[in-house]
């Protein structure tokens, strides 16, 4: 009975799958301080690998093409930062200066609403304490975000050094490393291992390329939109909207918060601007859903929306913003590994049963 249970494809799959998950989790814990540069480097690898292939196609060696890609990356990064960073810093400072006004306006709005309710309905809402608490909390979040922002700038400097180095070595050596690792598989599971790797790599590359293009398009559309309606810091807001778009379903909702708060910060309150800010995000989302997603992402990941939302919440809770961004590729990878393993193990099991029956 126990023997049958152990031999059953499902229990065998679950056992190997758990081993793989444990190994990945251990590796993630060991590499925790380097996880962010590794994730970014893998993303860049997925994006830049085709360029390296073009160079190789024109006769350059792997070394030279990897180095050329690295130089292009550094050049684009350098030009981009020199162009964007001053503008971004100015907009960040302007946003920082504007935040107290925004909180003040929202507090006044809350108080006015409370007074209006008391005057018209005769109800005492006891909301002052609550509103105060909420806005104090929000203010604390804002301050924490700014402190976090300065920490991020320090981490960014480290990333700027590590990411190009990691990306260069990934482009140059990843294939060899992967080959030597997968060649260690036993003969019986060699092809299955490669096939699972191939499916995972194919889907991940498609997803990463798709989502980065989508994020870039969203940044451009929202920046243009925010600039057109005359809201402050359009470039920064567009950039934030693009980055938040990396998180499916939840990201676009979060992206509306900052523009709405900034629109509310105007004295007197400009409701047209609030509506226009929401419209920009909505229009960008419509373009994203109708044109961008079908064209660039399509069926890059085939997951149920509920799985996506629950995954984002769990990963976000465990690993913060990065967790929310990597939730989909990680779940999708696990999904492929599980089904690939199950398919392979089940085929072998069925054949064994069949040969036993015929004997």
């Amino acid at each position: 009975m126990i023997q049958t249970l152990i031999q059953h494809p499902l229990s065998k799959t679950l056992f190997i799958f758990s081993l793989i998950c444990t190994a990945i989790a251990l590796l993630a814990v060991l590499l925790a301080p380097l996880l962010l540069p590794i994730i970014i480097s893998f993303t860049l690898y997925a994006l830049l690998e085709p360029i390296s292939e073009i160079f190789e196609r024109h006769g350059l060696s792997r070394n030279t093409s990897s180095l050329s890609v690295l130089l292009i990356l550094v050049a684009i990064g350098g030009i981009g930062f020199s162009l964007i960073l001053p503008n971004l810093t100015a907009q960040l400072s302007s946003l920082q200066a504007q935040l107290p006004v925004v909180w003040q306006t929202i507090t006044t709005m809350g108080n006015n609403f409370s007074q209006h309710v008391v005057a018209s309905l005769g109800l005492e809402m006891q909301s002052n304490g609550l509103t105060q608490h909420f806005f104090n909390q929000a203010n604390d979040w804002g301050k924490t975000a700014l402190v976090e922002g300065s920490n991020i700038l320090i981490s960014l400097s480290i990333l700027l050094i590590l990411v190009p180095i990691f990306t260069f070595f990934l482009i140059r050596d990843f294939r060899n490393f992967r080959n030597s690792l997968l060649d260690k598989l036993p003969n019986s599971s060699f092809e299955m291992g490669w096939l699972i790797y191939y499916r995972v790599a194919h889907q991940l590359q498609g997803y990463i390329r798709g989502i980065m293009i989508q994020s870039g398009i969203m940044s451009i559309i929202t920046t243009i939109g925010f600039y057109s309606i005359g809201i402050e810091s359009p470039f920064l807001l567009g950039l934030v909207a693009g980055v938040l778009n990396l998180i499916p379903y939840v990201g676009p909702l979060l992206a509306t918060v900052l523009p709405i708060l900034l629109a509310l910060g105007h004295v007197p309150i400009d409701l047209w601007l609030v509506g226009a800010a929401i419209s920009v995000i909505l229009i960008a989302q419509i373009i994203d859903n109708i044109i961008v997603i079908p064209a660039v992402i399509a069926n890059a990941v085939n997951l149920h929306p509920l799985v996506v939302i629950i995954g984002i919440i769990i990963f976000g809770n465990l690993f913060g913003f990065i967790g929310m961004v990597v939730a989909i590729p990680v779940i999708s990878t696990m999904n492929i590994i599980y089904y690939g393993l199950h398919q392979g193990i089940k085929t072998r099991y069925d054949l064994k049963i069949k040969s036993k029956a015929s004997a």
């Binding site: 196609r57 080959n179 060649d183 092809e191 299955m192 191939y198 398919q343």
Partner: protein
């Protein structure tokens, strides 16, 4: 003289390395027709040599297939429903359908003796096609020719059986 004296043999007789030997084996198959030896050699470097003991299963029919296999040494039996279809020796290749479509294997392959097999994976083929589209297209054409020839051969066998 040279066979009796290994020193002289080693000095004056060029010994082929594994890559050159496998390259020559692939080049003598119809799959690398009109593809340069240099390109084939570069490709061979990405292939995966594996060793099988006598009686070891290379793959079962129904297994997930992802590669074409060249026999470098030893011999392989190809069976379907316990019927021997072919016995392949060094220089022969098998499993080419898996290079094209993501479908289960259609026959069993078992090592008749200790064998060294060279696996050329679909993922390696796709990477190569991206790097060298012209040669990749030629390789696809060659595979199509091989498959067409096998189909024709099967059709002839079937018609002979029916007659």
């Amino acid at each position: 003289m040279s066979s009796q004296n290994p020193l002289w043999q080693n000095l004056f007789q060029h010994k082929k390395d594994r890559t050159s030997e496998v390259t020559d084996m692939w080049m003598s198959t119809p799959l690398f027709n009109k593809i340069t030896k240099r390109e084939c050699r570069d490709l061979v470097k990405t292939m995966h040599p594996r060793h099988y003991k006598k009686g070891e299963l290379v793959f079962n029919s129904g297994d997930i297939g992802a590669s074409i296999v060249l026999i470098r040494s030893g011999s392989i039996e190809i069976k379907a429903i316990d019927k021997l279809l072919a016995e392949l020796v060094a220089g022969d290749f098998f499993g080419e359908i898996a290079l094209i479509i993501d479908e289960p294997r259609t026959a069993d392959a078992i090592a008749c003796e200790d064998s060294e097999l060279i696996f050329f994976l679909r993922s390696d083929l796709e990477e190569w096609v991206k790097r060298s589209p012209k040669s990749g297209a030629q390789f696809m054409l060659n595979i199509a020719t091989v498959l067409a020839a096998r189909l024709r051969h099967t059709n002839i066998l079937l018609s002979l059986q029916n007659n």
